[in-house]
């Protein structure tokens, strides 16, 4: 009996010792954790300060040495701490096992001398108490749930009922500007001013804010409702016609409304070359023009840049990096050299310019280069590189985002960058660009991809019609004229489609098919430029071939119609100019002097071309200037 008592005492003591040991180790672990959390050895201010000093003085060997020493010290501290945590955890584990074992032995020995309980506790009183408390607890739980349910705001319901998002009451739209509709551009023009009842205003965050009106909405008292702007009626207005706002001109239709376009120049001898500037970054995008400003983009692994030149003298007015965009990949995606990181052309509405890159970064800049908004759409899964150009109209920027993971057509609010609508497409990856056209009084966005050619409502993004007629890797964009949509792709077909609820192929051909160059239609004639050097003209209504001409170089740049002429540049940089006519009438083959894969841009009396190394401003220069 005495031995048992001694053993019980011994194991009791062991329990105490092992318990204290466990507590001590646990305490040390907590202190270690707290210490590491406080000091953060890998993020010391001293190291950051040294790195900053080093950036200012990158040649300093002393700084390099200091940084290395401090870094080593910090890492040692970190890894020592890690080791301590692991060792501590193991010690704690062993301590706990010892504690548990001693406990078990202690109880086993002690059990033999325990006295049994005298009375049970299961009585009427206990049962009554249990009932009462079960009911009270259940009631409290259900009551609390009910109270919380009434106190909870259903934001989804608010959004669905009002179509609005709620801005934080602490940050009301402080700086507001009255928005009037610019009749010329078709978009809202802003000027600083006070908030007035009933007028749409723009907050400093760029979101459209409708001022509060009592009783208009459950949230109206806060005066912070935000609604998207509504698009107006379609009609290609004068400002768009007078400029070259996107890839292949206004609405991307391949038609320029300018006159006095030169037909004769020579790059090597600088004949009619008004200016020429070297490009600093690669970009297979085409120039875009608004008034005197010409925009292009370029990108390499270091940065993505939008450039603005004075089109009159070729001087660089500004350049702006697409940097610090949340969600932008740290490393650009792998793309092929003939597509590059900046194949999509920029677009402008005269107040802002919009650019997208192969990284999926998209940004809006004002005409002075100040960033308005930027966002990442996520890196498009595209084995050559994203190349679909942007197009804008009124309050929307349209993006055809067809990737290996599926197709989408998006409209971003041009003021805020927010998604106005996002329509999933039954489309495989494509490289073509969207065009716009007014069909049956409705503004539509027309896209080509494999296998579908489709029309979408500009305002809602709803697909209005679609027809499967293409295949392969679709690069050429569509053309539209006289109620017919034209689409083509190499190894597929050329089709003239009558759009509508039940679209019909009016005629088709597979003789000459483009790989990259888009189609152009004018005056009842359709022009096709192939990558193997064939340029052909068809009757756009019947599909009957009118003429063809073969060149040694293929065409990647798209044909453009201007002033009754069709301009198409082959890959060597030779521009081939024809009369828009049923008979082949060549008007010249001026050369640029360097290779080119892009599409020309036009202004009155001038054409702007981009080679692989330089940007050219071309005008007919009078003799006395020579």
């Amino acid at each position: 009996m005495q031995d048992t008592q001694d053993n019980i005492k011994l194991f009791g003591n062991l329990i105490t010792v092992s318990g204290i040991f466990c507590l001590a180790v646990a305490l040390l672990l907590l202190i270690n954790y707290w210490h590491i959390r406080q000091t953060k050895p890998l993020e010391t201010e001293a190291l950051k300060s040294l790195v900053q000093q080093f950036q200012a003085d990158p040649e300093s060997e002393a700084l390099k040495k200091d940084i290395r020493s401090l870094d080593l010290l910090a890492r040692k501290a970190f890894f020592t701490s890690q080791w301590q945590i692991k060792a501590g955890a193991l010690l704690l584990l062993f301590g706990a096992i010892a504690f548990a074992t001693c406990l078990r032995i202690y109880h086993t020995m002690k059990a033999r001398i325990l006295e049994p309980l005298i009375d049970g506790v299961d009585s009427k009183v206990t049962r009554m108490l249990s009932q009462r408390w079960i009911l009270i607890t259940g009631g409290l739980l259900l009551g609390s749930a009910l109270v919380v349910s009434f106190l909870t705001t259903d934001y989804l319901k608010i959004y669905e009922e009002t179509g609005t998002v709620v801005q934080a009451p602490a940050e009301p739209a402080v700086k507001v500007a009255v928005v009037d509709k610019d009749e010329k551009t078709g978009r809202q023009k802003t000027e600083d001013g006070g908030q007035e009842d009933g007028k749409t205003v723009v907050g400093d965050a760029g979101a459209l804010v409708i001022p509060a009106k009592a009783g208009t909405s459950p949230l109206s008292s806060a005066g912070v409702l935000v609604t998207p702007a509504k698009a107006g009626a379609p009609s290609l207005n004068t400002d768009f016609r007078n400029n070259h706002p996107s890839f292949r001109g206004p609405w991307g239709q391949g038609i320029s409304y300018h006159t006095g376009i030169p037909v004769d120049w020579d790059g090597p001898t600088e004949k009619n070359i008004k200016w020429k500037v070297a490009l600093t970054k690669k970009g297979n995008n085409s120039p875009v023009i608004w008034s005197d400003k010409l925009f292009i983009a370029g990108a390499d692994n270091e940065s993505e840049v939008v450039y603005c030149f004075n089109r009159l003298d070729g001087k660089l007015l500004w350049e702006q990096d697409a940097k610090d965009i949340p969600g932008s990949p740290a490393v650009p995606p792998k793309v092929t050299a003939d597509t590059g990181l900046s194949a999509p052309s920029v677009t402008t509405d005269g107040q802002q310019v919009y650019a997208i890159f192969a990284t999926g970064d998209i940004l809006a800049l004002d005409m002075e280069g100040k960033r308005i908004w930027a966002k990442s759409l996520g890196v498009p899964d595209n084995h050559y590189g994203h190349s679909s150009s942007l197009i804008c109209w009124k309050d929307k920027v349209i993006i055809q985002f067809d990737t290996n993971k599926g197709g989408r057509l998006l409209a971003l609010n041009s003021l805020t960058g927010e998604i106005s609508w996002d329509t999933p497409r039954k489309a495989k990856i494509s490289w073509s660009s969207p065009i716009m056209a007014e069909i049956d009084g409705k503004l539509q966005i027309i896209t080509t991809s494999s296998p579908t050619v489709a029309g979408y409502d500009f305002d809602s993004g709803a697909q209005l019609w679609a027809i499967d007629c293409l295949s392969g890797e679709v690069g050429p964009s569509a053309a539209f004229a006289d109620g017919l949509v034209y689409a083509a792709n190499e190894y597929a077909r050329l089709a003239a489609i009558k759009p509508g609820p039940t679209p019909v192929i009016v005629w088709e051909s597979d003789e000459y098919l483009p790989e990259a160059a888009s189609l152009a239609v004018s005056n009842g004639l359709l022009f096709i430029a192939t990558s193997y050097g064939m340029f052909a003209c068809y009757d756009s209504k019947t599909g009957k071939k009118q003429w063809e001409k073969e060149y040694g170089q293929g065409f990647y740049g798209s044909p453009m119609i201007a002033e009754g002429k069709v301009y198409v540049m082959d890959r060597s940089g030779a521009m081939h100019i024809f009369k828009v006519d049923r008979t082949l009438t060549s008007l010249g083959d001026p050369i640029l002097g360097e290779k080119s894969v892009v599409t020309p841009a036009f202004a009155d009396g001038a054409i702007y071309l981009k080679g692989e190394k330089s940007l050219f401003g071309i005008e007919t220069i009078r003799q006395q200037k020579k």
């Binding site: 646990a26 954790y33 692991k86 955890a89 193991l90 584990l93 706990a96 504690f99 548990a100 406990l103 078990r104 086993t108 059990a111 049994p116 309980l117 005298i118 049970g120 506790v121 299961d122 009427k124 206990t126 049962r127 009554m128 108490l129 249990s130 009932q131 408390w133 079960i134 009911l135 607890t137 259940g138 259900l142 749930a145 009910l146 919380v148 349910s149 909870t152 934001y155 989804l156 608010i158 669905e160 998002v165 709620v166 801005q167 940050e171 965050a205 979101a207 610090d324 949340p326 969600g327 999926g360 966002k375 990442s376 996520g378 989408r408 998006l410 998604i419 106005s420 609508w421 996002d422």
Partner: protein, 418 residues
């Protein structure tokens, strides 16, 4: 027996050195961005063959526990299996998959036709239930790693008043209901996320998990198995199943001699006392109460379902999509917060707010149905638990309560009857 012990201890060691582990699923850390790899919440995937080794081990442990508890009446055997389970299912298998968490896999499989439950998870769910139908809660006795670690650290168990114990017994049902709701709606496996002991078994994990584990173990020194008794959602199911077990552990082998030693032995207060005259209820008033509860239960269920349906809005806020949609609606200015990783990820996806809201609404609709059912279930549980207090069962001996007994075998050690 000696060989059996050797095999039981060598098996986990052999398996630990086995090279049959599946390939690591997660990519190596990358250093060119500021992205921080999150701490994995589940152990590395296991080869299919090894998964069935786990099932086999579980089956063996359950069988042996049943044998030790019912036939062999050996507390030491059960204790040995408890240690083994802590080592194998706990430290070696890192507590995953465990039967407790498998409830959620089953719930998700029922709710989401696209989710296919693995046979591995299904067997981990079913085997303890089947055993409990025949032999009581033998899974809790020795096979559950969560129970094992608590069982081994019981120090000086205190007696909890019966009314409090019974009231707290409601929590596992509430936890079960919420776990099923969140799993079925694809929100989260909350049992796994708030499992207090996984962090200890893995010697790694979120701080909340580690602190919870330490808190439960410290509490467990004085309140035996606090998680099993007052939180475990799987225990709630086993409790019900075990009540129907035909061959449950019996405290005494032949006849109870009313020595009451078993009441001292059981730290879980799972021994039912024989009835005394003074505890017998008045039959007339009891019948009245019974009828009252029978009428009250449908009312409680209706009230619960109504309150549940009202609560679906705040319950659904735990779903990441609903949370994000509401955050973007209520705080649109956060779109410019580059540190908000959820919002930045959403913006980078290119998905529109309208699409997100539509998806969130679908999820909320599911929550409406789920919360409705949850409320009715909780109303039923409250009613049945209260009604259970007036149901009188005649007992002449000290018996293990089939629902609450974990078949740990402590009482067997104490019973002097040969």
């Amino acid at each position: 027996m000696k060989w059996l012990k050797i095999i039981l201890f060598l098996l986990p060691l052999l398996l630990a050195f086995s090279d049959l582990e599946a390939q690591q699923r997660f990519p190596k850390p990358e250093f060119h961005t500021k992205y921080t790899q999150p701490t994995p919440t589940t152990p590395e995937p296991r080869g299919v063959g090894m998964e069935f080794v786990d099932v086999l081990v579980l089956l063996v442990v359950l069988s042996l526990t049943s044998w030790f508890a019912i036939k062999k009446r050996s507390r030491n055997g059960i204790l040995l299996l408890t240690v083994f389970s802590a080592i194998y299912f706990g430290f070696y298998r890192n507590g995953c998959i465990c039967s407790v968490g498998s409830v959620q896999n089953v719930a998700l499989a029922f709710a989401d036709p696209k989710y296919v439950i693995s046979l591995y998870a299904l067997l981990f769910f079913l085997l303890p239930l089947i055993f409990s139908l025949f032999f009581g809660r033998v899974f809790c006795g020795a096979a559950c790693p969560l129970g094992a670690i608590q069982d081994l650290l019981i120090y000086k168990p205190i007696t909890i008043p019966a009314w409090l114990r019974k009231t707290l017994g409601f929590i596992p049902y509430l936890y079960l209901g919420l776990a099923v709701l969140y799993a079925a709606t694809g929100t989260e496996f909350i049992i796994c996320r708030y499992d207090p002991f996984i962090g200890i078994y893995r010697m790694n994990g979120p701080h909340l998990m580690i602190y919870l584990g330490i808190a439960f173990l410290l509490m467990g020194l004085f309140i035996a198995r606090p998680y099993c008794r007052f939180f475990c959602p799987f225990g709630a199911i086993l409790n019900v199943f075990s009540r129907f077990s035909r061959r449950h552990l019996s405290v005494f082998p032949t006849k109870c001699i009313q020595c009451k030693l078993c009441t001292t032995a059981c730290p879980f207060e799972a021994i039912d006392f024989p009835d005394e005259e003074k505890t017998k209820p008045d039959t007339k008033s009891n019948t009245r109460r019974f009828i009252l509860y029978m009428a009250l239960i449908p009312v409680l269920m209706l009230a619960g379902s109504w309150i549940g349906s009202k609560s679906h809005v705040f319950l659904s806020k735990a779903h990441p999509d609903v949370y994000l949609a509401e955050l973007l609606i209520s705080h649109p200015e956060l779109k410019t917060d580059s540190k908000n990783i959820d919002i930045q990820t959403f913006l980078a996806s290119g998905k529109s707010l309208e699409t997100l809201v539509a998806e969130a609404q679908v999820i909320r609709d599911k929550f409406y149905t789920g919360s409705w059912i949850l409320g009715a279930f909780l109303g039923l549980v409250i009613g049945l638990m209260a009604m259970n207090q007036i149901i009188f069962r005649r007992r002449e001996d000290y018996q293990a309560n089939k629902g609450n007994c974990y078949s740990c075998g402590r009482c067997l050690d104490y019973c002097p009857v040969e």
